[in-house]
Symmetry: C2
Subunit: 411 residues, 2 copies
């Protein structure tokens, strides 16, 4: 299913090929997020044209709307949304905890340095009602309230797997508990051990239901070295080799600055021949460290979410198109960018200029979100593709140095 093509000389980085039921993914690869069975503001063709290879949808959202049975009746997530390539769903755990965690005592929201913040999937949600304390965790599973209408629902590992089988993505994830990065050692350990028991139950249910989907287990353990290593060993050794997980997710929570260290602890222990997905990471600079430390897949809503606010990626950093200076700037978002939005036309000149995009944003036009999302998704997908090419050609370090020299964050 996964084949390493080339390893970096230093570190854990590698280029590989991941086979799925709907085609291969050349790794490292950025996984485009299609939260509610649509990459926001883009048609499937527009997604494909960015170079994106795989779309990840959210189990929690699809369970609530339209319901997993509808997706199943529609032929599964790919057919339902018109995406013919590889698909993934997360387990629902992240949303259950992040959308439901507010106000509970055990799971303290931690706004400043959390991976949770770097995983802005929850921001896509725009809750329509105030969220009340509502997540109750027990050994068997989690009871939570819908962010939409406050109705009560329950996920167990078995239910998560059942829903994900109905949704029918090529790659699915074991049900896990997402903790806060500020949680105590004791709580992280308790939660991790529960996640391990849930992983076993997820795997058992997956085998019981049968079928060709791949199941990834999720390594947790917060920022603690012994817990991360224990979790990695557990996941690696669950029913190996043929009966175990087909790959691994690496979940928050750890502080952003600890991320690469934590990722290295984990990837040094995970089996080399299986793919590793770092969940919810999408900052351009962060991705280099994650790739060097052996991650193959990444997903994040940031490219599309930021696009919809007019925040556009370039190799020099992100800028906001609504700043006054762009009103009469007739150059593309980034000269040399070959996305649909930027690509010059045959007769010369930018295809869509900053001035035009500024106008669309100022006029609240839907096309603003579409053109900006195309650019940002292209940027991040293409950046990870370049990392892959850098690994294959031995030029990864130069690529990294160049981007770190030019990229100045928000400019």
């Amino acid at each position: 299913m996964f084949r390493v093509q080339k390893k970096m000389e230093k570190g854990l980085g590698r280029a590989g090929v991941l086979e799925t039921l709907h085609g291969t993914i050349q790794t490292p690869a950025f996984v485009t997020v299609g939260t509610k069975a649509t990459v926001k503001a883009l048609t499937p063709e527009q997604v494909k044209e960015t170079g994106a290879q795989v779309v990840l949808a959210n189990t929690y959202h699809l369970y609530l709307e339209p319901g997993e049975k509808i997706v199943e009746q529609g032929g599964g997530i790919g057919k339902f949304m018109g995406w013919s390539g590889p698909t993934m769903t997360d387990s629902g755990g992240f949303q259950v905890f992040s959308l439901g965690g507010k106000g509970t005592s055990k799971i303290t929201p931690h706004k400043k340095h959390s991976l949770t913040e770097a995983q802005p999937r929850l921001d896509e949600v725009e809750p329509r009602i105030a969220v009340q304390p509502l997540v109750k965790i027990d050994e068997d599973g989690v009871t939570f309230k819908s962010y939409k209408d406050g109705s009560t629902h329950r996920f167990t590992p078995e239910r998560s797997i059942e829903i994900q089988h109905a949704i029918g993505a090529d790659i699915i994830f074991a049900f896990d508990e997402c903790t806060s990065p500020t949680a105590s050692y004791e709580y992280q350990k308790e939660a991790m051990e529960r996640t391990h028991r849930w992983a076993k139950r997820s795997l058992d249910e997956h085998k019981r239901l049968g079928g060709p989907q791949a199941l990834f287990g999720i390594v947790q353990g917060g920022r603690f070295e012994d817990l991360r290593k224990e979790s990695a060993r557990f996941m690696a050794n669950l029913n190996p080799p043929a009966g175990g997980f087909d790959g691994f997710g690496i979940g928050g929570s750890f502080d952003k600055e600890d991320m690469h260290t934590a990722v290295r602890w984990v990837n040094e222990l995970l089996p080399e021949e299986k793919p590793r997905h770092l969940l919810g990471i999408g900052d351009p600079l962060d991705l280099f460290g994650a790739v060097e430390n052996g991650c193959d897949l990444f997903d994040c809503v940031a490219p599309t979410r930021q696009a919809r606010t007019g925040s556009l990626y370039t190799r020099k950093g992100r800028f906001n198109i609504e700043n006054t200076q762009y009103r009469n700037d007739f150059t593309p978002i980034e000269t040399g960018c070959e996305c649909y939005t930027c690509l010059p036309r045959p007769r010369g000149g930018a295809r869509f200029t900053k001035a035009y995009l500024a106008h669309l944003f100022r006029s609240d036009e839907i096309l603003a979100s579409t053109l900006a999302s195309i650019h940002n998704v292209y940027f991040i997908v293409n950046l990870v593709k370049q990392m892959r090419e850098g690994i294959l050609a031995g030029t990864f370090d130069r690529l990294k140095q160049d981007l770190f020299a030019s990229y100045k964050g928000v400019v």
Copy 2:
């Protein structure tokens, strides 16, 4: 510039070819509205893929945002918005009066049977501030307040033409006064005569500025036969033949039920060798009568505006996709429709099902507007294209009978 290819045996209908600076328009043709230099929710390629041949933008809106100078610096409306085909702008008069007319004594809004209502461009505007009485008409022009911020602006015929030259569409319109269909005979006459003087001034300014754009004069006269005929004769005879208008618009106001009669009065007098654009009409059934009575071009925001509310066109009528019954309906919007949204995939089944669209609308996803707009624009553009083919093949009457038999309005 315009050539009649074939006339219908009965009535005034004809098929023709209109040459513009950016390609030819096969008429009759539905003109897609791109109010603020974008057909809402669609990329230029998506517009083209519907079969749309020409896009009409609104002078009033582009004057306010981003300003005509920005559009001019961006290479003109077509290049600015990335549309390589023919373009039009209206004169700004319609929006000046419809967005500014509320509360004035002379120009009473008439909600029930007006063409103004059938021209929902004003509904696209979503005024951000309460509109105060604000349109002042004098012989020289119109002073009005911006719907955006209440600032005061002034259009004269010369200014409208100057702005339209800067925006740079292939076909532009003379500045006119849009009256209410309930206006008295005396007021309609007074306004029409002023519109005639403005038409002369528009034409003079157009000649003075020079350049290759085509200018259409607008026939007014409300629901009164003598006024409509007087207006048609005036417009037809203004500096003919080479120095006159390149074509004609037929403006509201008249009651919807009088429309075809009024159109016939006008088109019997307008020169056969020049194109006629019925402004703001887009109801599928209305279009048949307009074509039979000699109109070549039509524009209306209804297809896109209705699409964004989930109201979708079929040959049986319009239905709303948010109705419960569509949640698990895995058929396309209309079987046999060949738009991007409906066209079956090679492996069979609908491309995007009603169930998927229902999900997107219920989830407030941007893609809902895109897929629905593609379908509706395709529907109406293709319907008028079929009318053209019907004229050429002598099967127009059968097409009309079939649609009148099946189309049940809102279903």
